[in-house]
Symmetry: C2
Subunit: 347 residues, 2 copies
Amino acid sequence: MDDRKQKVLLAIIQDYVATAEPVGSRTIARKYQLGVSPATIRNEMADLEEMGYIEQPHTSAGRVPSIVGYRYYVDSLMKKEIVPPDLEKIIREGLERKVRDVGEIMHYTGQLLAKLTSYAALVMMPGLFGGHIRHIQLVPLVLPRVTLVVVMDSGTIKNHVFEVEEDIGEDDLSVISTVLNAKLRGMTVAGIRRTVLSEINLELSRYRDVLNRAMEALSDDRGTVEAGKIHLDGMFNILNQPEFHNVEKVKTLLTLLEQEDVLKGLLSGTVPAGSVTVRIGSEMSCRFVEECSMVSATFRMGGQDVGILAVLGPTRMEYARVVSLIEFATRNLSLYLNRLVQGREDW
Amino acid sequence: MDDRKQKVLLAIIQDYVATAEPVGSRTIARKYQLGVSPATIRNEMADLEEMGYIEQPHTSAGRVPSIVGYRYYVDSLMKKEIVPPDLEKIIREGLERKVRDVGEIMHYTGQLLAKLTSYAALVMMPGLFGGHIRHIQLVPLVLPRVTLVVVMDSGTIKNHVFEVEEDIGEDDLSVISTVLNAKLRGMTVAGIRRTVLSEINLELSRYRDVLNRAMEALSDDRGTVEAGKIHLDGMFNILNQPEFHNVEKVKTLLTLLEQEDVLKGLLSGTVPAGSVTVRIGSEMSCRFVEECSMVSATFRMGGQDVGILAVLGPTRMEYARVVSLIEFATRNLSLYLNRLVQGREDW
DNA sequence: ATTTAGCACTCGCCTCAAAGGAGTGCTAAC
DNA sequence: GTTAGCACTCCTTTGAGGCGAGTGCTAAAT
């Protein structure tokens, strides 16, 4: 791939991203000063097409970047954009103001990302597993229904309702709560050791059944308020994209986005390392989003990946801008989350 | 409005609701056995149009019901449908299985309503004000950040993060929690009396500042997990309606539905009495949903309206079916919610 | 007096063909 | 290696004509 071919490919991608129209040789010669005539560009385009980087919707339309073309662009051609300082300031100030609990920060970040990119933003909320237990309590509702409430140091809360045996009273629950608190406080959910559990079991042997159910509830992510949930913002942004002026497409996509498990599947393709993952069209291996791309990254808390931030848009996406925004957002998010939890900033 | 006119109007509405096509005199004569010829029906239709019950999209199309026509139908013509017993069984069993916490029941109801009606369902979650306080606790996060956790007897949880003065320690919080629990347990949030507050203030005079902030948090609905939130289900159902095959309309509607305050505004038009409210097109006085209707009803808990259930669909809606479903759903919901809270069933 | 058949008329929608235009590939000249 | 020229392709737009559904009116039938 010689230098000029790269320039042509870049021009095609830039123009197509901007206009959503197949781009022809004349356009490139006119708008992007390569110092050569349309004919020359046509030759280069023929080569690029043979190499698989661009495609022709039909004879005598312009060229459109292929998945391979976008991939090459993202990997080799794309220049990272610098987040403008005033924008940076806005984001920082917004986060600063929201530094109260994890939920608020996440919400804010999602909305911001949707607004700035004008694509859809997904935020997978951190689960319980990252943070440390601050408080744990069994609260009687209408017996035999009780709820297990767990407060993490991030401010995240989990509650899980279940039923206990008839002969358990409020006092029993209060005793159990005290012991659980003493033993489990400061631990991560993932880090609860068998030794601790058996200690508890020993101490509260007559409540074995309640304890089992409580532990089950603790490690069950379902009941967790917010945590593990996926928030969607700016879903309607995609309706502004010309590729979704077709109602059928909108329908399949929206139907998809309403199913949380599908979203989880999509997000799970994110590499955990901390770098930004870009997946283009069929790379997501989900045939319903073949005309979409996803840019995603994990964010960290206490040295551990706890959640994912992602932007979903058409394959014809402003990758450079989105990648830098995601990068910036996750970095900030990690920073503020850690500050929230411990003053630690070890990202 | 004589009997035959009513029959014609009914036929027009039924046919239009079923087909979404303007309906002509021939169709009515053929499909609905009125025993008269198309010409007669045409005369009746001309009358109905003059009276404002139906409209013509353009000369020589069929007729379409007007807002006034639908209104007349809903008020006078519509026969309540009976919820089929097998469906009733499914709903009851589903609710039975979900009887654990309010959130789950509400979610389930919303999804069910969306699925059964194939329109969009809205659920406004009950706030804190209906239920009784079961447990209240100030949990230290990373000091000076603390969170106030309130568990209601419905299983609803509220948490609100705020900051306290530097010199407040964990022991102080634990003392405050004990007192708050002793004093406030069993009360409704709305029912906390000034006498109780001053008792608490007396007992914990050195913590006045923390207490003020806690009380503020308690009566602030924002931080409440789930409560007061509006859940939307089956939003994509409306995309199946032919009137929304136009992307622009979809866009305005979806944009609308994403704004929670707008939804609240729409829901606030529901009459609290306990009957079902039907609002048709412009009756909602929001120009973005002029082509939509909303069927809604409040549900009760402990003798108080605590939330709203609603279905949003095109004006061309199967009112009879939706109304009976909503009626049935709210009745059941009230029943199960009350059973959840107190075994009371005083609706 | 009401109902109905007949008929002319309106108007949206579909089809089809023609025109237009954007873009290409090839060839030959530079 | 580059470029101008040109024939060719194929999508898109445009407009006219025909079709069909439906109406309102009138006059005849009940």
